[in-house]
């Protein structure tokens, strides 16, 4: 009876087996309680429900994605610092973390950083900025967008719950079988991992479909594909990658689930299972995933470098084709993730060459960015700082990537910290820095005030310094032969490098703290940082042509586009910001709770599957599909914003715009910036 009600759940699932686990779980519980208390204190429940949880506005959904990503970033950065501390003291010494716990740490760190920090971050930024850039009022399927957010959040919540109830997987973020099969990993950890990933991968597939259709069908009149901002181009490319690369992950995790729950033999050691099928499918997802992560940053840098150099992007067409080539090539190289797993030498050679080919379009991009800066009026803003740091560091990471693309070299350093250094070198400058610069770049558009500039520079310094200190030494210890994921080591020569790496990790912790301080300071000083006119950076693309924060309908009238960087052209011709003669009613999708219901239902579904609580599995699945079916009978999915209301909003903003001082380029980072910058002569 007890098993029927609670499945495998019992008191032993509570995290009282170690002080660190208890502490971490308490932080999660106290944090959740603090958030609930805060919302109650500001009497924000109604607003939270109406303005956020049930909203289908792409801008708000985008912001919620980024919030999820920040919470998860904080957890995974702390985990990284704990691991670095352990390795710093673990010479001939078990340190303060036992092996099993250390394995959980590197598994959650990787899983969170890829699936619950990076993916929500980039999807959030696209959700916010991409429809604005192409002159659309929302994505093609707003309710589905909300469901995608729900699925990703449910996965993130499962990750957080796993900290409090039960233990997480020790199988690494890739979850290779047969280790993750029931015979070697009998606990619930792998199940948590499977369902968190499965939910988020389904959500991401839906996002890919949504974005691709939006870009193909909802561009403003005149905006041909080759007039789209580069950021929108990368959105299209990663959407296509998500549509084709997410399903292999879903299939791989579900097959692993069938092995574990139904005793099947897809990847087991016995009765004909073949673990290589998992490895192939995982990396058939995993390699395109690398470009799903990196292309968005390329898109952001293409925007920010052009904007802050006050110059049209150099080689726009070549950048587009480079992006497309990278997207296509990303499907042809998955095998380089397992050169050492027994293929023929010729097969390895083919995949090695294909891998090296990717360096060509990437190199084209770096030259294009550099040439955009040549003779530009460069303003060293925070996003520009990230772009410069990225170009130097990413070339180093790319060079080590070409080294690893050589199967012979790969045999030497595979499974060492050299590899760890390489992919962190790609993903921190090539994803995180891009997203952080996007955060600084579009924050004033999203909230109507700039982020504090000085703290932005401190964050930049801590991240870049921390990254260099933490990962450059790992190249050396990796080349010296230190295996990745070591809980303890016995070579004295590694010690100084690991101490330096620890310093780097601590600096990254400072970056995290500075981000909190910056947000706090900026919210406090929001009056003096306000940019109501909406164009604080002398922007080039459509999102800067409207108020900050944008009205919910985005554009009072959908603009006609005649060129690349159309808004910037219009400013030069003094045709920007003209009041339209007529306003019309605008139809917008109305709020729906379907996304939130699906979030809760799929979270219950995943949790119940993990603990074998079968009635709750059925309940979760039933509510999930029931909500969607009920929604399909609802015909009242639109609401009208009357023309008079739009006229009032727009005229008020246009008045603010006319009254705002047009500041010079140099004053952009001072409080004189009200969102209107004079075009330098």
């Amino acid at each position: 009876m007890r098993h029927l009600l609670f499945g495998n759940l019992g008191y032993d699932a509570l995290p009282f087996y170690s002080a660190i686990a208890t502490g971490a779980a308490s932080v999660v519980v106290l944090g959740a309680l603090a958030v609930l208390g805060f919302v109650t204190w500001i009497k924000g429940w109604k607003s939270l429900w109406i303005d956020w949880l049930t909203s289908v506005d792409h801008k708000r959904i985008g912001i919620m994605y980024v919030v999820v990503s920040f919470v998860m970033l904080a957890r995974a950065v702390v985990e990284a610092a704990v691991m670095r501390s352990q390795q710093a003291v673990a010479y001939n010494n078990p340190g303060f973390i036992p092996p099993e716990h250390f394995a959980q740490l590197f598994t959650t760190h990787g899983t969170i950083m890829i699936f619950f920090m990076a993916m929500p971050f980039l999807i959030g930024i696209y959700n916010f900025a991409m429809p604005l850039q192409i002159g659309a009022r929302d994505v093609s399927f707003p309710a589905m967008n909300s469901i995608s957010l729900g699925l990703t959040s449910a996965g993130a919540v499962l990750m957080m719950i796993s900290l409090c109830i039960g233990k997480f997987s020790t199988g690494g973020w890739t979850g290779y079988p047969p280790y993750t099969e029931l015979s070697f990993s009998p606990g619930v950890g792998v199940d948590y991992w499977i369902w968190a990933l499965t939910l988020s991968s389904i959500g991401n597939t839906m996002t890919g479909i949504n974005f691709a259709v939006t870009i193909y069908k909802k561009r403003a009149p005149g905006m041909t594909l080759f007039r789209m901002p580069l950021f929108a181009w990368t959105a299209l490319c990663i959407s296509i990658l998500m549509i084709f690369a997410m399903p292999p992950l879903t299939v791989a995790t579900l097959m692993l689930a069938m092995d574990r729950y139904l005793g099947m033999h897809f990847f087991t050691n016995e009765l004909g299972g073949n673990m290589m099928n998992y490895i192939n499918m995982f990396w058939l997802f995993g390699h395109p995933e690398v470009y799903i992560l990196i292309l968005p940053a390329f898109g952001v840098y293409s925007e920010t470098i052009a904007t802050f150099s006050n110059k049209r992007l150099y080689g726009y067409t070549s950048l587009v084709w480079a992006t497309i080539s990278i997207a296509v090539l990303s499907f042809t190289v998955w095998l380089h993730h397992f050169f050492t797993m027994g293929q023929d030498g010729n097969v390895n050679a083919i995949f090695g060459i294909a891998t090296m080919l990717i360096a060509i379009p990437t190199g084209v991009k770096v030259y294009d960015w550099l040439l955009t800066m040549v003779r530009g009026r460069i303003r060293i803003s925070v996003p520009m700082l990230y772009a410069c740091a990225f170009m130097v560091l990413f070339v180093v990471g790319g060079a080590t990537g070409v080294m690893l693309a050589n199967p012979g070299f790969d045999y030497q350093v595979h499974n060492t910290l050299f590899l760890v250094a390489h992919f962190h070198n790609m993903l921190i400058p090539g994803l995180l820095f891009g997203m952080l610069s996007a955060y600084h770049y579009w924050f004033p558009k999203a909230f109507g005030f700039r982020l504090h500039e000085g703290w932005g520079r401190i964050i930049f310094g801590c991240w870049v310094g921390g990254f260099i200190l933490a990962f450059m030494p790992l190249y050396i210890v990796g080349a010296l032969g230190m295996p990745r994921r070591s809980q303890e080591f016995f070579e004295a020569v590694y010690r100084p490098y690991l101490w330096v790496a620890l310093c780097g990790a601590l600096l990254v912790l400072c970056a995290l703290a500075s981000m909190v301080i910056q947000l706090w300071t900026s919210i406090r000083d929001r009056q003096s940082l306000a940019v109501p006119a909406g164009d604080p950076w002398n922007g080039r693309t459509l999102e800067w042509s409207i108020a900050a924060p944008p009205p919910e309908y985005n554009f009072a009238l959908i603009p006609q586009i005649d060129s690349v960087d159309a808004f910037h052209q219009a400013k030069k011709q003094h045709t920007a910001w003209r009041a339209p003669e007529h306003y019309y009613d605008i139809e917008l999708p109305s709020n729906t709770p379907v996304g939130f219901v699906c979030c809760v239902a799929s979270g219950v579904f995943g949790f119940a599957l993990t603990w074998h609580v079968w009635w709750a599995v059925l309940l979760g699945a039933g509510v999930f599909f029931g909500a969607i079916i009920t929604r399909s009978f609802n015909r009242d999915t639109f609401r009208i914003i009357p023309a008079a209301e739009i006229r009032e909003t727009e005229e008020r903003w246009l008045l603010t715009l006319r009254e705002s001082p047009a500041i010079a380029n140099d004053a952009m980072f001072t409080t004189a910036n009200r969102g209107l910058v004079r075009e330098p002569v």
């Binding site: 093609s140 399927f141 597939t205 890919g208 479909i209 949504n210 691709a212 259709v213 193909y216 069908k217 009149p221 005149g222 041909t224 549509i243 084709f244 399903p247 292999p248 299939v251 791989a252 097959m255 069938m258 139904l262 005793g263 099947m264 033999h265 897809f266 016995e270 009765l271 004909g272 299972g273 073949n274 099928n277 499918m281 459509l542 009238l557 959908i558 603009p559 006609q560 586009i561 005649d562 060129s563 159309a566 808004f567 910037h568 052209q569 219009a570 400013k571 030069k572 011709q573 045709t575 920007a576 339209p580 003669e581 019309y584 605008i586 139809e587 079916i629 399909s632 009978f633 015909r635």
Partner: protein, 217 residues
């Protein structure tokens, strides 16, 4: 607008405020329907990747019998052939249903042909269930070998798709009862039809690769 798209717009470049009235509700509904249909095509492409992974897994596990029963013992080609007939026929009636909907604009005819499609779908499913029971009774359960896991997963995923297609059809009947055969219901029927034809194509793959190659080779 057509002019602007081809780059021969007015003399000034940049953005212009068009003062033309935005598209009417009817036009908006048409472009929404088009977007939904296009989105569904994209979804089908994504779904096809799922099936291609399952086919690839099946292909690599062809010899992973682990001493258990193989295709010769387990598959009944006769039954699989009848399943194929039922599903192909249902695709045909599904086509008749969309024709009735689009050109005859007759609710009765449309529902009749979709009803026949549903019955044929259910026939397919019952034959398939019967096959599954027969396989299991001969010891061909999915946990017996890698090959059996792969075949159950491939055939079963297709079966689950057909099941959800049948449920979808039932929901659509309820929608016709509530809203009549209005444009929104029609576009949903169109997507259902796409889904149904897609499953037919996947089944042809399963029939050829799993059943025919399995029994005849």
């Amino acid at each position: 607008m057509a002019q602007a798209i081809h780059g021969k717009g007015p003399s000034h470049i940049g953005i212009r405020m068009s003062n033309a009235a935005p598209e009417s509700r009817k036009e908006a509904a048409r472009s929404e329907a088009e977007e939904a249909l296009f989105g569904f095509w994209v979804f089908l492409m994504s779904d096809l990747i799922i099936f291609s992974m399952l086919f690839a897994t099946y292909a690599t596990m062809g010899h992973s019998l682990a001493g258990g029963p193989g295709p010769h013992e387990l598959f009944d080609l006769g039954s699989a052939a009848w399943e194929t007939v039922a599903l192909l026929l249902s695709s045909f009636t599904c086509g008749l249903a969309t024709l009735a909907m689009r050109y005859d604009r007759s609710t009765g005819k449309t529902l009749f042909w979709f009803g026949v499609t549903l019955l044929l779908g259910l026939t397919f499913l019952s034959l398939e269930l019967h096959d599954f029971f027969t396989m299991a009774s001969k010891g061909g359960v999915p946990s017996r070998s890698g090959w059996l896991s792969a075949s159950w997963a491939l055939i079963g995923t297709h079966g689950l798709h057909v099941t959800s297609g049948c449920i979808w059809m039932l929901i659509m009947f309820a929608q016709v009862a509530k809203f009549g055969l209005d444009p929104l219901v029609q576009t949903r029927f169109m997507r259902l039809a796409l889904f149904w034809h897609f499953l037919d194509i996947v089944w042809i793959g399963i029939f050829s690769i799993v059943y025919l190659l399995g029994v005849l080779s």
